[in-house]
Amino acid sequence: MASCDVRRSAPWRSRALASLARRPPKPISKLHYPIIDYREFEIEHNGDTTLDKAGSGKNNNQSYTVELGYVPFTWWEPELEFDMAAAPGQNWNYNATTFENTFQLTEQGKYWADLGFFAEYSHSASRVGTDQFNFGPLIQKQATDLFGLDLGHETLHTLNLFVSKQVGRNRNDATPLTVAWQSRLMINQYFQPGFEYYGGISSISGISNGSDGQHRIGPALVGQYNMF
C-alpha cells in the first residue's frame, strides 16, 4: 500500500534541503582579466563536467553558464550570468543569476602590471539556497621573458584572488579564498598555449566551510579568430 506519512518524511526533506543550502561555495573555474574592451557586446558560454570513477558521486557533475555583457565605459564591464547545473544522476536545475562587474583600474602597459577589480553578486534560484558575494583583485603581467628565460615570444600571466561570502538564512559563515592563475606563451593570436591553476583556502576566517580545498592544474589553450 502506497501511503506517505507526510509528518515523518517532512523533517528528512528539510534536512536534505538545508544540507544543500550549506554546501561550500562552488569553486571558481574561470579566469577574469583586468583589461576590458570598451563598447564590446559579449555573449559567453562556459561548461564544466567532472570525470571520476562511476558510482563515486563525483563523476559527471555538470555546470554551465551563459553570460551577457556590454561595456558602457572604458573602466567598467557589467555582465549578467545564468547558472545551470546537474549533480551526478540528477536532473538539470537552474541554480542562480549572477551580476558580475569587472573594473579596469590602470591603463594597460602603464605600470609594471595591469590591475583590475572584480565583484559579483549571485542570487540563488532556490528558496533555501544562499546568495553569495565574490570579489577581489585581478592582476596581469605581459613579459618578454619568463624569470630571465627567453622563450622567443611574449608571455602573459594573470592572477585572480577572490574572497567569497555567503549571505542569507542558510549561509555558511566561512570565508574562502580562491586563487586562479594562468600563464601562456603568446605565439600568435590563434595559438597561445599555457596552463591554468585553480585552488585556494577553504576559509580565511577560521571557520571551515566543509570543503577539502580543491586544487586543479592543467593545460590551457587560448586563441582568437575574428569572424567579422
Binding site: 574592451d37 570598451y38 563598447r39 572604458t74 591603463e107 594597460q108 602597459g109 602603464k110 605581459q142 618578454t144 611574449e154 602573459l156 603568446m186 600568435n188 593570436q189 582568437q224 575574428n226 567579422f228
Partner: protein, 68 residues
Amino acid sequence: MPAGQKITLTVKNLNSTPSEFESADLNREKVVTGGSDITVIIGPLRPGSYEFFDDFSADTPHGHIIAK
C-alpha cells in the same frame, strides 16, 4: 621605435565614426571615438614588426610598428 623600451603611442581618429586600434601582435585593443585620440602604451618590444589595424573597418590597410 627603439626595441626594449616602453613608448606611448597616440592614435588619432580623423573620421567622424569610431574606430578600433587593434593589434594581436602587441596585445592591444582600444576604441577611438570619432574625432578624438587615445594613447596606447606598448613595449618594451623585441626587435621585429608588429601589425595593427582598424577592427571597425576591415578594408582599411594594415599598419606595422617596427621595433629595432
